[in-house]
């Protein structure tokens, strides 16, 4: 299957501050979550992929188009929903979407027809003739989504699409993303800080930190393969016990109501844990195998990488 994104050794700096450092990425069609702490390089990566920024080193293609020489072709085939609040002054919803469709290469009539269609799709049919600047935050997010979809791109970049939305609006945007990806005609790269959004929508996750791609993996496989999490509550002085566990490679996360969550490596049997507790004179009052959240996985991965660097 052809790659939608295939880049090699892309680097980019802002006045000497490295934002991307020899990033290589090869993605097949699908829906990907782009995850990373603030300043990790997510937005810079998207801007390089869209041709907004020209990297001094590296090569690559987006949908088969060279990122250095064919940025116009790339932008014809790609939809982009920016993170920042942005709109076109003096235009209503349908005018905005139709105009941006025209700029993408649609004829005026087609763009207007399609603008109505996508505004219906994102749920702005009743507000489409209102000036866009009067929209609420959630409506502006939908409008940005509509303009990214108007020319029916083959690849969609969504930069923090649920920012500033109430829970219901967030769920509706996530539903839209799931619906689009279900058609299998469009690949999606979805950047967010809200990890549960990724869990609900994405098949794969790209973790980026300090300008490096840390991993690209299937969310479910990654969780099953790498981590087994337990929640336990102990009676007695537990610190030496946890110190001993950490020496054995166990990750410790604080949990609610006096319980502690631990992520254990695959070769660590639960029986070893009970044995160690007994050796430290502790009573295990509560022990439960629990689901690892993506947030825990993400923090663990980032911590591991920082540990390797140190």
């Amino acid at each position: 299957m052809d790659k939608v994104i295939d880049i090699r050794d892309i680097s980019f700096s802002y006045n000497g501050c490295v934002a991307l450092d020899k990033v290589s990425l090869s993605l097949a069609p699908g829906i990907y979550g782009l995850l990373g702490p603030n300043g990790a390089g997510k937005t810079t990566l998207m801007k390089v992929l869209l041709g907004f920024l020209s990297p001094p080193t590296g090569t690559g293609t987006i949908l088969g188009h060279d990122i250095r020489t064919q940025s116009r072709e790339i932008r014809r085939a790609v939809g982009y929903m920016p993170e920042v609040e942005c709109l076109l002054p003096f235009l209503d919803g349908v005018g905005t979407v139709a105009y941006l469709g025209e700029l993408s290469g649609m004829s005026r009539q087609e763009a207007m027809k399609r603008a109505h269609e996508v505004l219906f799709y994102v749920g702005l049919e009743e507000s489409r003739y209102r000036e866009a600047k009067s929209y609420s935050t959630g409506m502006k997010q939908r409008l940005k989504m509509a303009q990214a979809l108007v020319h029916d791109p083959r690849l969609l970049f969504l930069d923090e699409p649920t920012t500033g939305m109430d829970p219901q609006g967030r769920q509706e945007i996530l539903e839209l993303i799931r619906d689009i990806s279900a058609k299998k005609t469009m690949s999606i790269v979805f950047s967010t800080h809200i990890l549960s959004d990724l869990e609900q929508t994405c098949e794969q996750v790209i973790i980026i930190d300090k300008g490096h791609i840390r991993t690209v993996a299937d969310i479910h496989e990654m969780r099953a393969r790498q981590y087994d999490t337990y929640e336990l509550r102990l009676k007695g002085e537990a610190e030496p016990f946890f110190a001993r566990l950490e020496e054995a490679g166990v990750k410790r996360h604080p949990s609610e109501r006096g319980a502690t969550r631990i992520g254990v490596p695959p070769d660590f049997a639960p029986a070893d844990l009970f044995r160690l507790a007994r050796d430290h004179g502790l009573q295990v009052r509560h022990f439960r195998n629990c689901k690892t959240t993506l947030e825990e996985l993400f923090i663990t991965l980032i911590e591991e990488n920082h540990g390797h660097q140190e």
């Binding site: 982009y80 709109l87 290469g105 399609r114 799709y121 539903e175």
Partner: protein, 284 residues
């Protein structure tokens, strides 16, 4: 506001490859400016010199209206008639108003609403963006200078029933409005690219226009030297106009006229360069 039951619909059309990527920006800008508040009042106001000069041409060509000829004696030749049309103070002020009306918010508005992220995610270049915006301002400036100028030539030919026309005046009727409009358009767009508010751009342009005139007036009053006219935008336009239309005949007037033209060209180049620099630095 849930997803419609039919779900996402794939678009089966084909995207066009435009030779001139700026044309949608141009058409959108023209419509947007036309829909602005008080636009119609301004256009009526801007159309008044055309009506007045059409009436002058009519009176000049009709012997039965000789009684009025005393009032229009100074427009007796083509260079004087067309030169007066383009260089009168009212017309220059109208150009200033149209520049502000059509151009002040063009880039400032996009900056204020972060529209670059939307524009440059499309298959257009920064040059397309600038050309589109420039074309909008030029359209309105030329609509009230070049087009009425050509209409006046046609009216003159119709009323006199003759194709006779001073060739220098005819050429200047085309070249002069284009050069002056380009100067105003690059100036307003350069200011617009520096600000986030169209109102601020308007104020700055008016202040510069009147300040240059006032400074020139004071210096001319003190030193009685016409070279200080080079400091005033209005005087430069007028001096250049009288020279290019062939009204100025004295050597010092002609020299001053061409120097004024040079000042306008330099201003156009400086503001054009500033505009290009600002747009190049703008990030999506």
């Amino acid at each position: 506001m849930a997803i419609k039951s039919k779900g996402y619909q794939v678009w089966d059309g084909r995207l066009l490859r435009r030779t001139f990527g700026w044309t949608p920006i141009f058409w959108q800008g023209v419509l947007q400016v036309f829909r602005k508040k008080r636009a119609k009042v301004l256009y009526i106001f801007a159309g008044m010199p055309l009506l007045l000069f059409a009436a002058i041409i009519y009176v000049m060509t009709k012997p039965e209206l000789k009684v009025f000829s005393e009032f229009i004696r100074e427009y007796g030749t083509d260079p004087k008639l067309f030169g007066a049309y383009f260089t009168n103070g009212f017309m220059i002020f109208i150009l200033l108003l149209i520049s502000v009306h059509a151009g002040a918010s063009q880039i400032a508005g996009d900056r204020k609403s972060n529209a670059f992220a939307l524009y440059f995610a499309r298959p257009i270049t920064k040059l397309d963006y600038v050309l589109g915006k420039l074309a909008v301002v030029m359209f309105y400036l030329l609509a009230f200078t070049l087009v009425p100028g050509l209409i006046l030539i046609l009216l003159k030919m119709m009323f006199t029933g003759s194709m006779d026309m001073d060739l220098q005046a005819a050429g200047a009727t085309i070249v002069f409005p284009i050069l002056v409009s380009l100067c105003f358009a690059t100036m307003i767009l350069a200011f617009s690219s520096l600000a986030r508010s169209g109102k601020l751009v308007t104020v700055v342009l008016f202040v510069l226009y009147f300040a240059s005139d006032i400074v020139q007036g004071i210096l001319y009053g003190i030193f009685r030297s016409r070279w200080f006219h080079l400091l005033s935008l209005r005087e430069n336009i007028q001096n250049f106009g009288w020279t290019i239309f062939g009204v100025n005949t004295r050597a010092d007037e002609v020299l001053l006229g061409w120097l004024s033209g040079l000042v306008l060209l330099v201003l156009t180049a400086v503001f054009g360069g500033l505009l290009a620099l600002r747009i190049r630095r703008m990030e999506a």
